[in-house]
Amino acid sequence: MAMRDLVTGGAACAVPGSSSSSNPFGALANAILGSTMKAQDLKGLPESRVTVPTASLDLRPEDQFATIPGSEYENQLYQHADSQNSEFLRGFRSASHGSFEDAWGEVHRPPILPRAGVREIEGHFTEFEQIYDGGVNSNIHQIWDGPPQRVLSSYLHYFVNSDRDRTGFRPTALPALGLSESDKRCIRDRSCIMARHIFADKNEQYINEQVSSFLHCLDIDNNHLIRGPMQGPYAELEEYWNNSQTVLRPTVPHPADSWISEFSQQRASGDPEAWAHSFEKQHGANGWVSEFGQEQAQLLSAGQLGGSNLSSIAAMEQTRMLAHTLAQNNDPKFQNSKFLQFVSKMSRGELIVDDNQIKPATETISGDWANEFHMQYDKKPLEEHFSGELFHGANTWVDEFSKQHRQEEVDDQWVTEFSKLHVQDWAEEFGQQVAEGTFGESTTDRWAEAYDDYLDEQLAAKPKSSASSGVYVFSDMNPYVGHANPLKVGQELFRKGLLSEAVLALEAEVLKNPDNAEGWRLLGITHAENDDDQQAIASMMRAQEVDPTNLEVLLALGVSYTNELEQAEALRYLYKWLQNHPKYKPLASPEQSTSLFHADIARLFNEAAQMSPEDADVHIVLGVMYNVSREYDKAIQSFETALKLKPHDYSLWNKLGATQANSVHSEDAILAYQQALDLKPNYVRAWANMGISYANQGLYEESVRYYVRALAMNPKADNAWQYLKISLRFASRTDMLEACDSRNLDLLQKEFPL
C-alpha cells in the first residue's frame, strides 16, 4: 500500500482532456476523419463549423447542480466510505438514502446527447470547462515528450560507476530530456501492477526484483514497491486473505510453496514489515546502505541512489531468473513473445523505448559477419591466422546468403552487387592472406576457435539480410514521431553527442519529410558516429536519392563504403564527389565513371589537391582513398595535412586514428582517438576504435573497458559487441562471456570500469 499511497494523491500522467497527439497517426487520423466525416457533417450538424455548439439542455446551471439531492450524500460517502464503519453507514443510510435515489431517478430521463454549449454557462465549472475545452479543441496537440530512457539510463550508470573510475566522472551535461515525474510514476505503477498479473506464478520477491531492476534501469525510485494487494487496514479482507492462505491455497497449484508459507508466517506474526526485513536479511541487511553511503553523500538524491544500488544487485540475479523462466517455458510463443523480450530487455537496461531491437536475441546479433571480417581484417597481425576451415565457413555463408537472397527477392542493387562481386573479392583475399600467412601458434587456435564459434552462431541465426541490404530500418517506437520540429531536436542532440537519441529524432524527421536530404544526411552521419555503418549507408543512399549531387553525402558514402570494405562502391561515390564539386569538375571526365580504377581516381584527387592545397576535404578524400588501397602511410599524411587545416574536426582525428591503427601504429592511434574524444566525449565510434587499438596492442583487458564504454552509450553497436566478445576470450575472461551474450551492461560496466 505504501507505494500506492504515494501515487493516489496525484493525478496521472497526461494533461487531462488533451486528447489528440500530434504524431503522424494523429495527423493521418485527422486527415482521414476530416474527409470521411464530411458527408456526416451535413447530417449531424448543419452548420459544420462547430466551435460553440448550441442548444444545451443538459448542463444545468451551477446552483441547481449544487442542490441536486444526493450530491451531498455523495460527498460524505466519498469521505467516509473507506472507514468501513458499519454504524456510520447504518445511520447514514437511514438519513439520506432517499435523496440519492432521487438523484439517480432524476437523471433517468430520455437520453439526450448533449451537443455542449458549456461556454454559455456562467457557472464555476472551471475545471470541467478547462477539460472540456481542451477536449473539444482537437487542434491542441499533445506531444508525448518521449523519454529518452536509453540515454538517461546510460548516463546514470556512467555517473554512478564513475566514482570508481580512474578517469573520474566527465561532467557531461545531462540534457533536459529526462522522464518527467509523472512518466516515472506511470512506469513504476503500471509495471508494478502488470507484473503481478503476468508473473502470477512467481513469488513476491521475484516480482519485486523484476520490477526493481526494470525501474532501476529507468532510474525510478523504487523504494515504494507494492508488497501485495492485501496491505489495507480492512479486517474483513485480512480474514479472507488469511483464509485463502490456509484453506484455499492448497487447491491452487502453486510452485512457490516455500514462499507462501514464509509469507503466511509473516502475515501471522502480524508484523507488516516482516517481509521487508526478510528481504533485507537476504540481501545483506543494510550493508549496501553503508557501503554506498559515501557515494550517496556526494550525490543529489541519496534515496534515489540507494534504491538503484539495491536493485542493481537484484538486477543481476533477476536477469538470470528471467532467462531461466523464459527458457523453461517451451512454448515457442513465449520464446518469441515480444513483450517478454521487452521486459527482459528493459530489465537488462536495454530499455523501454527500444528500437526494432525487440526481436529474438539471435536476430539482434544480426547477420553481417562482414563486420566481423572487417574487424579482423583491421587487425593485420591476426587476420593471417585463418585456416582452411574458415574458408569453408565463408563459402557456406556465401551459399546461405545467396539462397536467402533468392528467397527474399530483394530487388536491391547492393545485394546483387555484393553477392556477385565482393564476396569473391573477399574470398580471394582470404585465400591470399591464408597463403602468405605467418603464424603465431598460440593465438591461432584461439582465433580460429573464436571465429568458428562466431560463424556457427551466425549460421544458426540465419543471417538477416535486411540490415545489410541498404534498406533503412526504422526504430519501432519512436518518441519523437509527432514532434513539431524533429530536425532541430535531432541537430541539438547530435551536437550534444546523444547519438542514439539523435537517431530517433532524425528518423522522426525523415518520416515526416522523406525528401529532406539534410535529415537523411545527418541521420547517416549520426549512425556513422554511432558505429553503425549499415544504417549510415542506408540513410546516405536515401539522402543521395533526394539530392544526388550533395557533396557531403557523396563523401560520407565514400567513407562508409570504405569502412565496409566495398572498394568499388567507395570509389564510385568518391568519383561522383569530384564530378559534382564546382572546383574540381573539370578534372573528372564523364566517360571515366564507367570504369573506375583506383589509381586513376587517386591521380585525379592528387591533382585536385595541387589545385587547392587549402581544401581540407580533398585531403580527407585522399586519406580515405589511401585507406582503400591500404597505403596507410600516405593516408596518414593526407589526414595530417587535413588536420592542419581543420584541427577541430573530431571525425578527422578519428579517421587518422583508425588509419594509424590499421598501419600498426596503434599507440599513435590512441593519441588521435583521445583528441577526437576530447573534442566530442560521446563519440561512440572513437571509444570503440580505442578499444580496437588496445586489442591490437594485445592489451585486451584494457580494450574491454573501452568497448563497454562505447556500448554503454550505444548498446546497439553490434560490431562492438562482437569485438568485446573476442577481447573477453583473449583476456581470458570467459567468465564474462555470459554477461556479454546477454548484453548485461550493468554487470560489464561494474566489472570493467574505465
Partner: protein
C-alpha cells in the same frame, strides 16, 4: 517501418484481421451494427505512451476496414459503445480520464466529453444496457464511478475495494445492479440505490481481473483471475463457486458470457489463448483459439450475430471470426 502504417484495410479474400499501430487492449461489438467494432489500444503495452480508439467495420467481402480513430495522450485500457447512440463510444484512459467520442461529428468537436475524476488509471468501462443513459468506470484508484453524459461530474463514487478495481459489469436485467472485480481478491455486487455493496464474494485467492453477468440467469456471475481460473457464482449462494474452469496457463484477463447461449463463456488470457467454455458440461473447455502471438487481453461476443467472436491482444491484431472456425482462416 512499423510505425508508418497506421491502418490496414484488407481487401476481399484476405484474412479478417485488423492491424493496430499500438497494442490491443479491448474490443467490443456495436450493439447497433452487426459489422461494427470498437478497439482500444495503447502504445508500449500500456506502460507509457499514447492511446487510440478505432472504429472498424467488417466488409461484406470479408476484410476489415477502419471507419475512424481517435487519439489520446495516454493508453486506452478499455472501451464501450453507448447503448443509446450508435455513434458514441467511451474510452477508459490510463491517465485517469474517460473520454467520449461521437463518430458522427467532425474531429473538431471530438471528444464530446472528457471526464477526469479518477486519481489513477481507468481500467474498465461498462455502459448500462438497461437504462442506457449511464456508464460505470473502474479504476486503479480502488473506486468505481457512475456517470451520465449530461452531467459534468460523476453521479456517484463507489469506494469499498481496497485495491485496484479491474472490471465493472452491469446486470443485463436490473437497471441499478452491477458487479465489480478487484485486485483485493473480491468481487462485489452493488445496487446504485444503496450506499454500499450488497454482496462481497471472496471469489479467488489471487487478483480478480474481470467479471461478467450471465445474460439469461440474473443470479449468475463469472469471475476471471490471476490464479488462471474462471469461476461461476450464484449470488444467492456465494460461499462456493458453481463451477471452476481451469485450463488457461496464465492469468485470465477477460471473461464474457454469451448473449446467445446461457452457459457459454469466452475468456482470454496472458497465456495468449482465447477459450470458449460451457460451464454446465463436464468437459467445460469447448474450444481453445491459439491465434494471438502475444497476450490476449480483449474478447467480445456479438449480440447481433450468434457465434461471431472478436479478440485483440498485444500482438496489435484484431481478429473477428465465427465460433468453430479458425480465426486465421481466409474468409
Amino acid at each position: 517501418m512499423a510505425n508508418s502504417s497506421s491502418r490496414v484495410s484488407l481487401e476481399a479474400g484476405e484474412m479478417p484481421v485488423f492491424k493496430t499501430p499500438f497494442n490491443g487492449y479491448a474490443v467490443r461489438f456495436s450493439p447497433f451494427y452487426e459489422n461494427r467494432l470498437l478497439v482500444a489500444t495503447a502504445q508500449n503495452f500500456g506502460i507509457l505512451g499514447n492511446g487510440r480508439l478505432h472504429i472498424i467495420d467488417l466488409n461484406p467481402a470479408g476484410g476489415i476496414s477502419e471507419l475512424c480513430s481517435f487519439d489520446t495522450a495516454d493508453g486506452i485500457y478499455d472501451c464501450a459503445w453507448s447503448e443509446s447512440h450508435d455513434s458514441v463510444a467511451v474510452a477508459a484512459v490510463a491517465d485517469g480520464s474517460l473520454k467520449l467520442w461521437d463518430a458522427a461529428l467532425p474531429p473538431s468537436s471530438n471528444p464530446i466529453r472528457s471526464f477526469h475524476e479518477h486519481a489513477r488509471e481507468v481500467h474498465a468501462v461498462d455502459w448500462n444496457p438497461v437504462r442506457r443513459d449511464s456508464f460505470l468506470s473502474a479504476s486503479w484508484d480502488d473506486s468505481l464511478k457512475l456517470w451520465t453524459l449530461d452531467r459534468p461530474a460523476s453521479i456517484r463514487t463507489f469506494r469499498e475495494h481496497s485495491y485496484c478495481v479491474y472490471s465493472a459489469a452491469w446486470s443485463p436485467r436490473h437497471a441499478d445492479v452491477f458487479a465489480s472485480a478487484s485486485g483485493d481478491c473480491t468481487t462485489r455486487v452493488w445496487d446504485v440505490r444503496d450506499p454500499g455493496s450488497s454482496l462481497v464474494i471472496p471469489a479467488h485467492d489471487h487478483e480478480i481481473l474481470s467479471c461478467d453477468w450471465n445474460k439469461y440467469d440474473d443470479c449468475f456471475l463469472a469471475t476471471a483471475s490471476v490464479d488462471k481460473t474462471v469461476r461461476v457464482w450464484d449470488v444467492r449462494a456465494s460461499r462456493a463457486p458453481v463451477a471452476t474452469l481451469a485450463g488457461h496457463g496464465y492469468a485470465v484477463r477477460r471473461i464474457r458470457f454469451s448473449p446467445h447461449r446461457e452457459s457459454l463463456l469466452m475468456s482470454c488470457s496472458y497465456d495468449m489463448t482465447v477459450c470458449v467454455w460451457d460451464y454446465r458440461t463436464e468437459d467445460a473447455l469447448l474450444a481453445r483459439y491459439d491465434h494471438h502471438t502475444e497476450f490476449a487481453v480483449g474478447v467480445d461476443m456479438s449480440v447481433l450475430v450468434e457465434g461471431l467472436l472478436a479478440s485483440t491482444g498485444w500482438d496489435e491484431l484484431v481478429y473477428v471470426w465465427q465460433h468453430g472456425t479458425d480465426p486465421r482462416a481466409i474468409s
